[in-house]
């Protein structure tokens, strides 16, 4: 399973949408219910799912799903 596929499963759980299909360019404006509060839910779920932690600066810098995937891939490589 790729990072994006695993991430997609987490998105579906967090946003309660089994039909959701995210891509690298996906932003909060493309997903129903993705606001500042559900963003916290999402980050917590991603941290739990990938057994990692993000710094506040990293979280602020995520502009789209691609940035999130890149940060997770970087951790995997490291």
């Amino acid at each position: 399973m790729t990072t994006l596929e695993k991430l997609n499963g987490i998105f579906r759980t967090v946003f309660d949408n089994e039909e959701l299909n995210i891509g690298p360019e996906t932003t909060a404006n493309d997903v129903d219910g993705w606001d500042s509060i559900s963003h916290v839910n999402l980050i917590l779920a991603v941290e739990m799912g990938f057994k990692t932690r993000f710094s506040p600066d990293e979280i602020m810098a995520f502009r789209n799903v691609g940035d999130l995937v890149a940060a997770l891939e970087e951790r995997k490589a490291g």
């Binding site: 309660d16 404006n29 129903d32 219910g33 559900s38 839910n41 917590l44």
Partner: protein, 553 residues
Amino acid sequence: MNATPEIIQGGQYNIGHICTRMQCDRGLGDKVAMRWLGAHGERADYTFGDLERQSSRFANVVGDLGVAPGEVFFIFLPKMPEVFFAFLGGLKARAITGTLFANFGEEALLDRLGDAGCKAILTRQSYLKKFQRIRDKLPTLKHILLVDAEKDLAPDVLSYPRLMAAASERFETALTPPETPSVLHYTSGSTGKPKGALHHHRSVLHQSRTAAEVLDLKPDDRYWCTADQGWVTGTSYGIIGPWSLGVTQLHFGGAYDAEKWFRLLQDERVSVWYTAPTALRMLMREDPALFGRFDLSGVRHIFSVGEPLNPEVISWGRKVLGHDIYDTWWQTETGGILITNRPGLEIRPGSMGRPLPWIEAAIVADDGTVLPDGEHGNLCLKPGWDSMFISYFHHEDVYRQKFRHGWYLTGDTAYRDADGYYWFQGRSDDVINTSGHLVSPFEVESALLEVAGIAEAGVIGASDDLLWEKVVAFVALRPGAAWGPELELKARIHVSNRVSTVATPQEFRVLENIPKTKSGKIMRRVLKARYTGGSVGDVSTLDFQDGANKEQP
């Protein structure tokens, strides 16, 4: 009551008509009513003539679907042009027209649509699953209209584009007397389900007057109200007030983004900006260098609504934006601004401002005595202003309880200083005001009880630097359940999706039992005292069973 102003012609009080056809009749048909700025950079201008045609089409759709005057129609969409067409069209057809915050979950939808007896709703395909889960519990709901379906998906799931294309763009709005029911917004209380605050078409008088006399809107203004149309600010001052005056509005479909917001203020030459304290506090946390990059010389006034504006924000506004920020106080039930700081009145930072000249406010004791200046009590208003709600829909008994000793009880507590300025102190009930949204602890507690492992829940609001109040949940677990990050996340996600993201607890505390009275009522004041370290007060009616109130590690 006010003398009938010029927006009322021939006894026509219909809000939809006044905001569209009447503006065309005034010669503003080609004037831009709305500049739409989408989240991805889309841009479209709609004139008052466009608003008239689109809303008339929708009024015809509403009639063709059999939604009769006085029946309820709702809009459940994020901010998009169709929201405005449908809102005005529904009102033209004299349907009771409600809007819903797009992040409501299915439980919140069920409470509101079920209570209202909603007959038709406008939404989009990605929200359909929420309705499918509750459809069998909504016997009155006959039609679901989808803005993004090219064809009908089922006999009761219809294509908005198809219906609009087939509808005439001509609609003669029936003469609408002032007492005709108009807009319905649900608002949360500390007990029971949310209640629908119903207004009437007369409310346009107050909304129009305050848009002119408080927001100081002028014919050439370019006005931006950041509120979502799911909340009352988004309809009273994001639709009705400004368009009743023929003022051009900007509407932005994207989320909070400091740089985009400031670019919009600059590039669109916004002259009057109405926003919220949480947004302003978020801006205060941005790199100060950001603000120097933008020219905001076109901005004349900035207003705020939602929760009290801290003096620090006003100081920041003066220093960084070069403007006073005027705090306005009102509620869903009041339908429009009543107590406010405003241009021409000295600002007392941290105060709510002073009542409008035609509004009588007072600080009243529980026994009905009007209290002298400086004493804390219930903030009350003398009923009779034009935008006052006319009922809690289907809950007349609860409505009547809001009036006592000849006053409307706002539920807020405050005091008045010697110069007539009012100072907010808190709520007299348990309703939580988080980033300007009222959240019912009852709704959150009910949702938490659906989470496997949680046996009891008590929810309170606690002071927060950014949100004004944050939602804090105390939970007691079922035997064998263990609290940890997984259960917390599950609880957060469940509340977000069942109720609303704004209702999501920001903090959890685990207790052995939730403190309750002997009759089983959750003692939220005890939870508040536990959270703040204050005194719990009289606990003689408490059922202190089995170590209730003992916190778990």
